[in-house]
C-alpha cells in the first residue's frame, strides 16, 4: 500500500503543483500535435502523452544544480524541469526565441541554465554523455546528480551496456531512468529484448535497481527519491525502471498497426493524470481546484503558441553561427 501524501511529506500545494505539471505536459503536447497538423511544426514530433507521471514524479525532486539528459521524447522532461513553455513552443516552431534558437527542434531541447543538457535523437546516445557529466561531478566533487532518461528500445544498444559498466565501475552519481513504455517504435519489448526483466542488467554490474508503476506519480516519486539519494550519496548509480505506456503513436507518422485497441484501453484507464486526480480528491480537493489548474494551463499553452507564432525566426546568417566556440 502506497503512503499518504503526508507520509511522503508532500503538502497539498506541492502535490497540486505536480498535478499541474502533468496537465501542462498533456495540454502542451496536444497543442503541439495540433500545430503539427497545421504545419507550424515539422520534422519528427514524439509525444509523451500517457507517460507524464514519470517526468512529474521524478524530475521535481532534483536540485537546481543537477543534470538531466534524455531522448527525443523530451517535452515532458523539459516541462517537468520547469523550462519556459514559451521558449519550448518557439523551439518547436523553429523560432529564434526557442531554447536552441530554432536549430534543435522537438528532439533537441536544451537549457543549460536548468541543467537540462539535452534531448538526443540517436537512440542510446545520451547515456555516455550522462556518464561524462557524472564523472565531472565526481571529479569536481560538486554533489551534482545526473538523471539519464531513455526508453526500453535503447536498452538493447551497446552504449547502454558500456555506460552502465563505466558508471558502476567509477561509482558515478547517475540515475538511469528507464521509461519502459512497452515498445520501441512498433516493436514490442518481448520481441526486442531477451531478458525477463531489464533491471537484471543492472544487477550484473552491481547497480541497485527498482521497478515502479510509471502511471502512479507518487510511486514514481518515492522510488525516484531513493534513487537520487543513492546516487548523491556517492555509492554509485541507481537503475530505476518505470512501467508506462504512450497513448499516441511513436511519432506523428506512425500507422499504429502493431497494437490493439483493448491494450490501449487498458492503459488509458490508468491515465496518470486521472489516477493522481483521484488520489488528490481523496485528500479533499474539489473540482474547482482542478478547473483552476486547467484554466491556468490552457492559458499558458495559448500564450506559448502566441509567443511562438509572433517570434521571429533566425535570419539566414544564423545558419553559420554556433558551429565553433571562440
Amino acid at each position: 500500500m502506497a503512503m499518504t501524501l503526508k507520509e511522503m511529506t508532500l503538502e497539498v500545494p506541492a502535490a497540486l503543483d505536480l498535478y499541474r505539471r502533468m496537465v501542462l505536459i498533456r495540454r502542451f503536447e496536444e497543442k503541439a500535435a495540433e500545430m503539427y497538423g497545421r504545419a507550424k511544426i515539422g520534422g519528427f514530433l514524439h509525444l509523451y502523452i500517457g507517460e507524464e507521471a514519470v517526468a512529474a514524479g521524478a524530475i521535481p525532486l532534483l536540485e537546481d544544480r543537477d543534470y538531466i539528459v534524455t531522448h527525443y521524447r523530451d517535452h515532458g522532461h523539459a516541462i517537468a524541469r520547469g523550462l519556459d513553455t514559451n521558449r519550448l513552443m518557439a523551439e518547436l516552431f523553429g523560432k529564434a526565441t526557442g531554447t536552441s534558437r530554432g536549430k534543435g527542434g522537438s528532439m533537441h531541447i536544451f537549457d543549460v541554465t536548468k541543467g537540462f543538457l539535452g534531448g538526443y535523437a540517436i537512440v542510446g546516445a545520451m547515456m555516455p554523455i550522462a556518464v561524462g557529466l557524472a564523472q565531472a561531478s565526481r571529479y569536481l566533487d560538486d554533489g551534482r546528480v545526473c538523471v539519464c532518461i531513455f526508453g526500453d528500445g535503447a536498452v538493447n544498444e551497446g552504449e547502454f551496456h558500456e555506460s552502465l559498466n563505466l558508471a558502476a565501475l567509477w561509482k558515478l552519481p547517475v540515475v538511469f531512468l528507464l521509461e519502459n513504455n512497452g515498445f520501441g517504435m512498433g516493436t514490442r519489448v518481448e520481441r526486442a529484448h531477451a531478458g525477463l526483466d531489464m533491471a537484471h542488467l543492472a544487477d550484473a554490474f552491481c547497480i541497485p535497481s527498482e521497478q515502479v508503476d510509471g502511471m502512479d506519480l507518487l510511486a514514481v516519486r518515492e522510488a525516484a527519491g531513493r534513487a537520487i539519494d543513492h546516487a548523491r550519496s556517492g555509492e554509485g548509480p541507481f537503475f530505476l525502471e518505470a512501467l508506462t505506456y504512450r497513448f499516441r503513436g511513436h511519432s506523428m507518422a506512425d500507422p499504429m498497426q502493431y497494437r490493439d485497441k483493448e491494450e490501449e484501453e487498458h492503459w488509458r484507464r490508468r491515465d496518470p493524470i486521472l489516477l493522481f486526480r483521484q488520489r488528490l480528491e481523496l485528500e479533499g480537493l474539489t473540482e474547482e481546484a482542478f478547473d483552476e489548474i486547467d484554466r491556468g494551463v490552457d492559458q499558458e499553452v495559448e500564450e506559448a503558441v502566441r509567443y511562438a507564432e509572433e517570434s521571429p525566426a533566425l535570419p539566414v546568417e544564423g545558419l553559420f553561427e554556433d558551429i565553433y566556440e571562440e
Binding site: 519528427f44 523553429g94 527542434g105 533537441h108 535523437a121 500507422p255 498497426q257
Partner: protein, 323 residues
C-alpha cells in the same frame, strides 16, 4: 511502360528476390510489424513471414555484423539501417568486417550483403538525422556504393546488388520515395558502376547523384530558358565510380559543375572534380566548380535547412559563373 514510385520499385525488387532466392532474407529495425520507417517493406512480413522478414532490436552493430556473418555462411541478407546516420553505430562492422573479410581471409570469404538506408536531409530532422555520409563508404575498398535517383535505377541497381557477391551499400533518399517514373515489366538490371546521362546537352556538364540529380535537371531546364544547354550526368554508383562517362561528357562540353547534397570540404564531389581535372585538364575551359551543402550541422528550422541544401538556383548561378 508502367509507372511506379521509387518506393514501390524497391519493394517489388525485394519481393522478387525473396520469391526467387531462398537465401535472401531481410532484417532490420521495424521493417516488419511497423512496416518500415519509410514503408518500403510494408506487406512483406505478411507475405513472407518472420523467418524471411525479421524485426531486430535497436542495435545497429550486431545488425550489420550479423548480416556479415549470415552472408559469410552463404545466405544473401538484406539489412535495413533506416538511415545512414545510424550506420555510424555500425561503421566498424561495415568497414572492418563486411569490406575486408574477403581480403583478410586471402579470398576465402565473400560477403554478399546488401545494406539499405536513406541518406540526406530536407525533412527538418535536424543535425543528427540529416547527413549525407555515403562518400565515406565510397572510399572503402571492398564495398560498393550505389545511389539511385529514379525508380528505374532503383530497381535495376537493386537487381544488380542481388547478383553481386560483395557488400553493397544501397543508398536511398527519403524525398524520392514518392517519385514516380517508368519501370519496365520485363527483367533488366542497371550495372553497378555505370553512370547515366540523364539529359543531353552541349554547353556544360552537371554531375550529380541521388536527389541532387533532380536538382540538376531542374537547373538544366532553367538554363535552357536562357539558351544554355546543360548535360546532366547521374553517377548512380559512387564505388565503383564511372569516371569515363563523366570525362567523355566534359570533353564535349569543356565545363563541369559537380553537385552534391553533403558538406563541401572533403565531400565526394572533390573526387569527381579532381578526377576530371586529372583526366581532362586540357579540355577544360575553366575549373570544375562544386555546389554542395553548407558546412553546418543541419538546423531544424525549415528556412535555414532549405538554405543549407543546394537548390537549382545555386546550380544555375554556378553554371553561369563558368560562362
Amino acid at each position: 511502360m508502367r509507372e511506379m514510385t521509387y518506393r514501390d520499385a524497391i519493394r517489388e525488387t525485394l519481393r522478387d528476390a525473396l520469391r526467387q532466392d531462398e537465401r535472401v532474407f531481410l532484417m532490420g529495425e521495424d521493417i516488419g510489424a511497423y512496416g518500415g520507417a519509410y514503408a518500403v517493406t510494408k506487406g512483406l512480413l505478411d507475405e513472407f513471414g518472420e523467418r524471411r522478414v525479421k524485426d531486430t532490436p535497436i542495435a545497429e552493430s550486431v545488425l550489420a555484423g550479423a548480416g556479415v556473418g549470415a552472408a559469410a555462411a552463404g545466405l544473401r541478407p538484406v539489412v535495413e539501417m533506416m538511415s545512414i546516420n545510424f550506420t555510424l553505430l555500425a561503421s566498424d562492422q561495415i568497414i572492418n568486417n563486411a569490406a575486408k573479410l574477403l581480403y583478410m581471409s586471402g579470398g576465402q570469404i565473400p560477403v554478399p550483403l546488401i545494406i539499405r538506408m536513406v541518406s540526406g536531409g530536407g525533412s527538418q530532422l535536424a543535425a543528427t538525422h540529416s547527413q549525407s555520409l555515403e562518400g565515406w563508404y565510397a572510399q572503402v575498398p571492398g564495398l560498393k556504393v550505389v545511389t539511385p535517383a529514379t525508380p528505374y535505377d532503383a530497381r535495376g541497381l537493386l537487381k544488380s546488388a542481388f547478383k553481386d557477391n560483395n557488400p553493397v551499400m544501397f543508398i536511398e533518399h527519403s524525398l524520392l520515395y514518392g517519385l514516380t517514373g517508368p519501370v519496365p515489366e520485363e527483367d533488366y538490371t542497371v550495372p553497378i558502376g555505370s553512370a547515366d546521362i540523364k539529359r543531353e546537352g552541349k554547353d556544360v556538364t552537371i554531375i550529380a547523384y541521388l536527389r541532387m540529380v533532380h536538382v540538376a535537371l531542374e537547373a538544366a531546364e532553367a538554363l535552357a530558358g536562357d539558351g544554355i544547354d546543360a548535360e546532366v550526368v547521374d553517377l548512380r554508383s559512387l564505388r565503383p565510380l564511372d569516371m569515363d562517362t563523366v570525362v567523355q561528357s566534359v570533353r564535349r562540353t569543356h565545363k563541369a559543375v559537380m553537385v552534391e547534397e553533403g558538406w563541401k570540404t572533403g565531400g565526394f564531389g572533390a573526387e569527381v572534380a579532381s578526377g576530371i581535372m586529372s583526366q581532362a585538364f586540357d579540355d577544360l575551359d575553366g575549373p570544375v566548380e562544386r555546389v554542395a551543402g553548407k558546412e553546418v550541422p543541419m538546423p531544424y528550422n525549415r528556412e535555414l535547412e532549405q538554405a543549407a541544401i543546394p537548390t537549382y538556383l545555386d546550380v544555375v548561378q554556378t553554371v553561369k559563373s563558368l560562362l
